[in-house]
């Protein structure tokens, strides 16, 4: 029983992480019909941004007193860096290609993804105040606040890390749900997603909506990276590759373009991965997501929450 409960806890914790990344995929796909391959690497950049900010404000220094303000500063700073990066990627790499065939944008996205992954592995430039690019060897994320056990049920310890991660992730998802369905910007975003040309004719600034969508999604990826880095402090330039791909699978699973779908898809993927890896075949962990993807695309390509669209000539 306690083993089962432990798997559930781990699965939900990995799953919320996938869900937060998947939200970025699903929103971008909703407005642009583009798989933003570089999204997983924005996640990686978020972890490194948090790392550098934490070092700059002295979190790793001797005798650091944990404070809520500093933790919030790391989170907001890192989400800001990611939002800026997402905006820049869209502005410089995707916007010039928007009228070209979709394959062109996909290839560009792959290019950006590899540029971030391998650019971050280069040796550090001289003369910068921080060690950037960080190089290929893994870094350890400093401890923002100490880990304490809050609750113990059937030998399964729930630490403050688990609770805070889950709480933050849920709060961010609710905030996003509010933005998409209850604000003026959300209406504009859904209109662009429905039909960009008509939306433009109705006076919606399509370019700005797409920019903000990218910034929002990237900020969520940054938050996901920090939530992950707090409990698994090993960060390296390739850390975004697998979570990025799996979060995409989660988005497809839930129905790409649907915000609740991405959340449910992410948590279900995290749970199924943890269950299969825990009880059956631990070394097949990385293949499970892709098996799910192939199954979903064959059986129900629109995903759990998606709407089937017919193709028009």
């Amino acid at each position: 029983m306690s083993e089962f409960l432990q798997h559930i806890v781990n699965g939900v914790s990995v799953g919320t992480n996938y869900a937060l990344i998947a939200l970025g995929y699903t929103m971008v796909y909703g407005v642009l019909k583009l798989i933003n391959f570089a999204h997983g690497d924005v996640y990686m950049v978020g972890a490194f941004a948090g790392y550098f900010i934490a070092h700059a404000i002295g979190v790793a220094a001797e005798g650091y007193e944990p404070s809520l303000f500093n933790t919030a500063l790391v989170f907001v700073g890192s989400m800001g860096v990611c939002a800026l990066l997402g905006y820049l990627i869209e502005r410089l790499a995707y916007r010039p290609l928007r009228d070209r065939p979709r394959l062109t944008s996909l290839i560009t996205a792959i290019g950006i993804s590899f540029l971030l992954e391998y650019g971050f592995q280069l040796p550090a430039w001289a003369g910068l105040p921080i060690e950037f690019p960080p190089g290929p060897s893994p870094r350890f994320f400093p401890e923002l606040f100490p880990r304490t056990v809050w609750l113990e049920v059937w030998d399964v310890a729930f630490s403050n890390y688990d609770v805070i991660a889950l709480g933050t992730a849920l709060a961010l998802m609710l905030a996003l749900q509010f933005i998409v369905y209850r604000t003026k910007f959300g209406v504009a975003m859904r209109a662009v997603s429905f039909d960009p040309n008509s939306a433009a004719l109705m006076g919606i600034p399509v370019d700005r909506v797409i920019s903000i969508t990218f910034a929002l999604g990237s900020a969520l990826a940054g938050a996901a990276a920090l939530l992950m880095a707090i409990s698994h402090p090993r960060i390296d330039p390739l850390m975004g590759m697998m979570p990025g791909l799996k979060a995409f699978v989660a988005a497809v699973f839930g129905g790409i373009g649907s915000v609740p779908g991405a959340m449910v898809g992410g948590i279900l993927l995290g749970l199924s991965e943890e269950m299969v890896a825990g009880y059956a075949l631990s070394s097949f962990r990385d293949a499970i997501a892709f098996a799910i993807l192939i199954g979903v695309l064959l059986v129900r390509p629109e995903g759990l929450f998606g709407r089937r669209t017919s193709e028009k000539v």
């Binding site: 010039p96 290609l97 590899f114 540029l115 650019g119 892709f290 064959l298």
Partner: protein, 319 residues
């Protein structure tokens, strides 16, 4: 006469490759060999990404199948039997093993292609990538295939003559495919899938055929590579390898056989010149992809071949 014409490239090519193998300095021979393998990979990926306009990111998976099959067979049949001279035995076994590797890769291509080629565009890209990862994880978990450490001690059968002839075979197959009924059907799928279907072209069928053929030659490339580096590991066939091949095809121009060939040779040569700057390799590839897409999304030659450019110039001059 017709048979002679199809054999001519090989009859002409074999002595040339043999002479190069005997007299080229070792470093040049290595570069040429790698270039040849890359030509095989790029031209075969071009059959899917160029001819039918689909986007596969799983080429390395098929390379892996070819490499493992070939290595298993040559290791099992290592010692000459029945009084056959060793050189004949090793080359014969290698030929058999390569053909078996191609066959198995094609079969796998068929199995992957039938379900996934119903999907379009970016979904297909992700699914092929997924299959690539699944193949790699499966290999890592099978002890008979050496698990994560792979198979070492593969016999050094790959020579410049083998690679040259295999590259020629790939290019000739691609060229003759393009001029055939099947090739025309594939091009029609690329140009407009809906229109092609309306004209009675079995679009999924042709996509699957292109995919299987492409997988077969990827297996050939993988087999040759394995018998050159004498080691077959799952790490050599991650999707980073697939992306490298995609870069070559995109640089040459999707759909251009000579473009893919030239891009493969150019990139291999450029990497050799950049030796020691290995960490910049993937950075260069990714920058190349982004800049190409922004500045010249058709690649060097688009869908045309090199010689078509000379023809076009002459026509302009005449007019």
């Amino acid at each position: 006469m017709r048979a002679l014409r199809s054999l001519a490239p090989f009859l002409l090519g074999a002595p040339v490759f043999w002479l190069v193998q005997c007299y080229a300095p070792p470093t040049l021979a290595i570069v040429l060999l790698m270039a040849g393998v890359n030509v095989i990979l790029a031209v075969s990926l071009n059959m899917v990404n160029g001819f039918t306009g689909q986007f596969s990111l799983g080429h390395a998976g098929f390379m892996a199948i070819g490499a493992y099959t070939t290595a298993k067979i040559t290791l099992a049949l290592g010692d000459p039997a029945g009084g056959v001279p060793p050189w004949l035995w090793s080359n014969g076994v290698f030929l058999l093993a390569l053909l078996a590797g191609m066959g198995l890769s094609a079969l796998m291509g068929l199995m992957v292609g039938v379900p996934s080629l119903r999907l379009r565009g970016d979904y297909l890209a992700i699914v092929t990538l997924g299959f690539n990862e699944i193949i790699r994880v499966l290999i890592e978990n099978v002890r008979w295939l050496g698990g994560a450490t792979g198979i070492s001690g593969v016999p050094p059968y790959t020579t410049l003559v083998w690679v040259g002839l295999a590259a020629l075979a790939t290019v000739v197959t691609a060229q003759r495919l393009l001029c055939s009924t099947h090739g025309r059907a594939m091009l029609s799928v690329r140009e407009d899938e809906v229109a092609a279907e309306a004209m009675g072209v079995d679009t999924v069928g042709y996509k699957v055929r292109a995919f299987a053929l492409s997988a077969a030659f990827a297996g050939l490339g993988g087999g040759l590579l394995g018998h050159y580096i004498l080691l077959v590991t799952p790490k050599s066939f991650t999707f980073v390898k697939s992306i490298e091949v995609v870069v070559m095809v995109v640089l040459g121009g999707m759909g251009s056989i000579s473009g893919a060939t030239l891009a493969a040779v150019l990139l291999t040569g450029a990497l050799e010149l950049m030796r020691g700057l290995d960490q910049y390799r993937m950075v260069m590839y990714s920058l190349l992809l982004v800049v190409l897409m922004l500045a010249r999304p058709t690649g060097l030659f688009g869908t045309r071949e090199i010689w078509e450019f000379w023809g076009a110039k002459k026509k302009k001059a005449a007019a």
